[in-house]
């Protein structure tokens, strides 16, 4: 078969020559077909090839390193405990901690304790969401509101919410209200600020495009502004959860009372009172695991999904 084609302008089908400059009329259909084919070719050439990272690679590059690091730390800890650097009541090994937790488990209280904290955290976070979102929208969109409370709101974010605990106890006594007040004061500012940041970073082009499409007023907020601000909003939520959880632990640690159900903070405080260092470390690990677990199971996938859908996240 012919492998190369050389154009030598001979024969009736040769291009150029002294024929008309534009394609002969009537060749319209052929021209349109040609254009469609050309376009299909361009589309195929320019479309980035989608690729998935194989599961084995994800395991090797993403899962293996942190697992190895945790195992290393545990091993070093166990060694230090066995070398008796400190008396056991000050430095129990990881196995002692595990046993202390197992003991709580057999007493049947630990799940209830975790649930108490998680449900408080979730409820407080939901309330913060319901307050922080409209608040953030107001600050982002209404100049007067922004001038009035914008600085206070971002300032509040740097105030450790544990500072509110004494005030809340004076207001509400040792009740759930105290705990929720502290959680709200911790989480609302970061959720609102996240939304403000997200709205501020919305490219003006989207807003103009939305307006020409007829998305004005509330429809503009719903169809353009909020979805465009979603990445910033989500990172605000993630931070808001971290703040909720921290504030909750601070509140539970300080507000200990028989009237309040036992949460992880109270478990920790009780263990301290009993000088049970294994249980203290066990409670700390539980607090850490629950906090990280919710972030990894709820917020990380949500954020990844949103960013990936917009092509803002490199695969792999």
């Amino acid at each position: 078969m012919a492998s190369t084609e050389t154009t030598t302008a001979t024969g009736p089908s040769a291009p150029g020559g002294d024929g008309p400059e534009r394609p002969v009329p009537g060749g319209g259909d052929r021209a349109a077909d040609g254009l469609a084919g050309l376009e299909a070719g361009l589309d195929a050439l320019e479309t980035p090839a989608a690729q998935r990272t194989p599961a084995g690679r994800v395991l090797r590059t993403k899962v293996l390193p942190p697992v190895a690091a945790v195992l290393l730390v545990l091993a070093a800890w166990q060694l230090a405990a066995q070398a008796d650097l400190k008396p056991d009541y000050m430095l129990p090994g990881p196995l002692d901690v595990w046993n202390a937790l197992a003991e709580e488990w057999y007493r049947g209280t630990i799940l209830g304790t975790v649930w108490n904290s998680v449900s408080r955290g979730a409820l407080g976070f939901a309330a913060s969401l319901a307050i922080g979102t409209p608040l953030g929208l107001l600050v982002a969109r209404v100049g007067f509101v922004r001038a009035a409370i914008g600085p206070v709101l971002s300032g509040l974010q740097s105030l450790p919410s544990v500072a509110w605990v004494p005030a809340a106890i004076i207001w509400f006594g040792l009740t759930d209200a105290t705990i929720y007040a502290v959680v709200l004061l911790g989480a609302v500012p970061s959720i609102a600020n996240g939304l403000v940041g997200g709205v501020d970073r919305v490219p003006p082009l989207y807003l103009r495009a939305g307006r020409t499409l007829g998305a004005t007023g509330l429809r503009g907020v719903r169809h353009v502004l909020l979805p465009a601000a979603l990445p910033g909003y989500l990172s605000g939520l993630k931070q808001g959860w971290a703040f909720s959880w921290r504030s909750l632990m601070a509140a539970e640690l300080i507000a200990v009372s028989p009237d309040l159900g036992t949460g992880l903070g109270q478990l920790l405080e009780n263990a301290r009172v009993l000088q049970d260092m294994s249980l203290v470390l066990g409670a700390i690990s539980l607090i850490l695991v629950v906090g990280i677990g919710i972030e990894l199971l709820v917020f990380a996938p949500l954020e990844r999904r949103v960013l990936r859908g917009r092509g803002l996240l490199a695969r792999g």
């Binding site: 534009r22 254009l35 320019e46 479309t47 103009r208 495009a209 020409t212 499409l213 465009a228 917009r310």
Partner: protein, 279 residues
């Protein structure tokens, strides 16, 4: 040659005023877009920079007009005024019909949180098309720009040329009688741009009575596409000269007739630019 000159904007004014006096009906003589003595300045009145000065321009229903000018002469400002995104400092702009004009930007401006199809459907929804009809209509529009398979694709999965075609489908979804385009192909490579010129011409001819006001700084592009080329001067932006382009479609950017007229217009454009270097 195939070109007629309308050298004098004042002649145009007289025609405008005459038409303004006519009854305000939907007769064929009503322009799709009418700018009467439009000026625009930014900054404090009196002290600010006058970007557009006394622009009067009519675009007839179904007409394809290219607005040509050097960078910074106020082309985008003018389109924003017509689109209603900004208000003129003086003068009046009228757009026929009750729909706002559709606007396409240099950047595709598609919403990255929606698929290509949903971008088009959002435009339909905002136009008031009932839910049940949106999907089918969006697919028809994507088919029109030959992107039938792109319905479920995310914006970042599409090439630059495909994005602009989806943006075109979204603009068409507004079913406005006026399509404003602000250098929509300027960021594309020459091969893709050439194909999209052909595509735009085809779609404009297929839709029949859509008026296009297409902004560009590319003389050849203007001559390739337009029925009429309007040259804007810079600082302040005024209509310097207009050309009727009589070359029949389908044109190609390589056509000798396109090249000849481009040379003539480029000379004029350079003259406009040179004036600014003299003082």
């Amino acid at each position: 040659m195939a070109t007629a000159l309308t050298d004098n904007p004042t002649a145009n004014d007289a025609a405008n005023d005459a038409a303004n006096d006519a009854a305000n009906g939907a007769d064929a003589g009503t322009p799709a877009v009418r700018l009467s003595h439009v000026s625009k300045s930014f900054g404090r009145p009196g002290h600010g920079q006058t970007v557009l000065d006394d622009i009067s321009l009519d675009v007839a229903p179904g007409e394809f007009v290219c607005l040509l000018g050097a960078s910074g002469c106020g082309k985008s400002t003018l389109l924003n005024l017509v689109a209603g995104l900004d208000a003129p400092s003086s003068g009046e702009i009228r757009v026929a019909g009750d729909r706002r004009p559709a606007l396409m930007f240099q950047e595709h401006a598609l919403f990255p949180w929606l698929t290509a199809g949903k971008n088009v459907e959002l435009a339909l929804r905002l136009r008031g098309v009932p839910r049940g009809e949106r999907r089918e209509e969006a697919e028809r529009l994507l088919e029109l720009v030959r992107l039938r398979g792109a319905y479920g694709k995310r914006v970042h999965e599409l090439s630059g040329g495909m994005r602009q075609r989806v943006a075109m489908a979204r603009a068409l979804a507004q079913k406005s009688s006026v399509l404003l385009m602000d250098e929509p192909f300027a960021a594309l490579d020459a091969i893709t741009r050439d194909v999209l010129h052909e595509e735009l011409t085809r779609i404009w001819q297929a839709t029949g009575d859509v008026s296009v006001l297409f902004v560009t700084h590319n003389v050849r592009e203007a001559v390739r596409l337009a029925q009429r080329v309007v040259l804007l001067s810079s600082r302040p932006g005024r209509i310097a000269r207009q050309w009727q382009v009589g070359i029949p479609q389908p044109r190609r950017i390589e056509d000798a007739a396109v090249a000849d007229l481009s040379v003539e217009i480029t000379e004029q454009l350079r003259g406009e630019i040179r004036r600014h270097g003299q003082h």
